[in-house]
């Protein structure tokens, strides 16, 4: 639960997206796909960041510099130790066969990388649509495990437009999506099968105690994004 994570590298992928590699004393192994860690950044509240890749004692996170906390993270040097809670939440269930469509938008893309890797290792046929405003990242990594389609809003790379503009070209049994809420709404509407959505909400505790991070469920009840999610079945939640 309490993790000591040693920074092994911290490098910029774009002008504001940073990839940090960490080693953990504990074996975080499998089962962490789509989950997140809650990192102490020396402020009042910890910062939730998704696990991008995980293999035993090593894990990778990819974050965008948004404000004070992520700026602080970007300044960490190799050898420094971070205090984090995790892996927290419930992640993506990994299907055993068939075809999967992964749809990621912006900083929602990182948690889909481990997802792609594990789906591919199960023999699932994986197609990935990656949407960016302008500067792509992690494209080659996704290409190792899947057939990748890049979409940019400004048309500087790949197809110009939104991820949903290209979704119809594919058939799939299940979709896995993470990105801004408006994108998730559009993806859910456009999708031809049920799937999984990863939600984001402001967090206090990260462990289910403060009720800061609630979202509406289709059955009229509430769910907590930090413990019941961040991954939900697409039909389960109201966006």
């Amino acid at each position: 639960m309490m993790l000591s994570l040693e920074v092994t590298s911290n490098r910029f992928l774009t002008s504001d997206v940073v990839q940090m590699e960490l080693t953990s004393e504990q074996d975080l192994g499998r089962g962490s796909v789509g989950k997140f860690i809650h990192i102490d950044v020396g402020r009042t509240l910890r910062r939730p960041i998704s696990i991008c890749e995980v293999d035993g004692h090593s894990l990778t996170i990819v974050y965008r510099i948004e404000g004070t906390g992520t700026a602080w993270l970007s300044e960490r040097q190799s050898g420094e130790v971070l205090n984090a809670l995790g892996p927290l939440g419930s992640g993506y269930p990994i299907m055993k066969s068939g075809k999967a469509l992964l749809v990621g938008g912006g900083i929602g893309i990182p948690p889909l990388l481990q997802t792609a890797k594990e789906l591919a290792s199960n023999g699932v046929q994986v197609t990935t649509i990656l949407g960016f405003r302008s500067e792509p990242f992690l494209v080659e990594e996704f290409a190792t495990y899947s057939d990748v389609h890049v979409v940019t809003e400004d048309g500087s790379h790949g197809t110009k437009g939104f991820v949903t503009d290209v979704m119809d070209a594919f058939t799939y049994d299940t979709f896995y999506s993470c990105g801004p809420r408006a994108m998730l709404q559009a993806v859910k509407q456009r999708a031809t099968s049920p799937g999984y959505l990863s939600l984001e909400e402001r967090m206090g505790c990260g462990v289910g105690a403060c009720l800061a991070c609630v979202c509406d469920k289709a059955d009229g009840t509430y769910a907590k994004v930090c413990t019941d999610g961040p991954v939900f079945e697409s039909e389960e939640v109201v966006l």
């Binding site: 639960m1 309490m2 102490d40 402020r43 009042t44 509240l45 910890r46 809670l85 909400e201 402001r202 967090m203 206090g204 505790c205 990260g206 462990v207 289910g208 105690a209 403060c210 009720l211 800061a212 991070c213 609630v214 979202c215 509430y222 413990t227």
Partner: protein, 310 residues
């Protein structure tokens, strides 16, 4: 072994440290981190007669050295709490302080009458100070007459001692404390959050969906210390202090200022082990100084008295 025992109305505390209401759920989540029996007590989340959905998100925002929240008293309601939450806590050897809330005096009376019968509830804490709901809450906590009326009504039905949780969002905190005492309160808990606001730098809009929220964390500690200091000298019932406690030193400050016990809120979010770390720190202090835990309560005003009487 160091004796950290503190005796308060209804509460025999192994040590004076307890998580504050709303910052610890009903204990389940933090039971993964340590044995809840090690806590002095647990102040559980506010309970209202019916289930409450709370406010829209975002419900929290970080500020310089603190946080704002506008949860809005979300809770599963009295019946569900009695059936599903309190029994879980009964497995631990720790007294529970039930936080009672509502829209009307009748709501408070209903919750107090029933929840005070739960076998592991040793005291009630009247939440008359939640800044995040439209009806109830703060309205009772900012008017001396209403506060006294509500305290009396709850005292009449409660099977256990009643602590009144004071709001800092008043001009005369001592007057409120005395009103509660005269109405029969067995103790006071203080402080609840201070009403605040944080704006988005890009858009100028409030960061919380609710606009305003309750400020907690280190930012409010000096305000809380001043209020505990003033109130504890003006009443003869015990005070449980809180507001920005994250270390043993912070807890000590509250006890110096007159608090008999100390609650820890926001710090649980930063460090899930906060209560345990504070208990250990306090134990070490008591041991090295070779004093009784009771000796430190009110030390600061006793020190000031000696100064002024010289």
């Amino acid at each position: 072994m160091t004796n950290m025992h503190v005796s308060l109305p209804g509460l025999e505390l192994k040590n004076p440290i307890m998580p504050a209401s709303g910052c610890f759920g009903f204990g389940r989540e933090y039971a993964q981190f340590y044995d809840l029996s090690k806590l002095g007590a647990i102040m559980v989340k506010a309970v209202t007669p019916e289930m409450r959905r709370g406010n829209a998100t975002p419900r929290v925002a970080e500020t310089e050295s603190g946080m704002l929240n506008a949860i809005g008293l979300q809770n599963p309601g009295l019946e569900a709490v009695m059936e599903h939450e309190l029994p879980f806590l009964a497995d631990y050897d720790v007294p529970i302080i039930a936080n009672v809330a509502g829209k009307t005096p009748e709501d408070y009376v209903e919750v107090a009458a029933k929840i005070s019968q739960a076998p592991n509830v040793h005291a009630l804490e009247l939440n008359v100070s939640c800044p995040n709901v439209k009806e109830g809450g703060i309205q009772f906590g900012s008017d001396q007459e209403q506060l006294a009326m509500l305290t009396r009504a709850v005292k009449e039905v409660s099977e256990v001692p009643v602590y009144v949780k004071l709001s800092p969002n008043v001009t005369d905190i001592v007057g409120m404390a005395q009103a509660a005492e005269h109405a029969g309160a067995d103790g006071l808990t203080m402080i609840n959050t201070l009403i605040g606001m944080q704006l988005d730098r890009r858009t100028g809009k409030p960061l919380l969906a609710n606009g305003r929220g309750g400020l907690s964390g280190p930012a409010i500690k000096p305000v809380a210390i001043r209020m505990v200091y003033d109130v504890s000298q003006a009443v003869s019932i015990p005070v449980i202090g809180m507001g920005g406690v994250s270390t043993a030193e912070d807890a000590l400050d509250f006890m110096y200022a007159g608090a008999s016990a100390v609650a820890v809120g926001t710090a649980n979010f930063t460090n899930p082990m906060a209560c345990m770390d504070i208990i250990h720190g306090l134990e070490t202090f008591i041991h090295t100084e070779n004093i009784d835990i009771g000796d430190i309560v009110g030390r600061s005003y006793r020190a000031c008295e000696t100064l002024s009487s010289r």
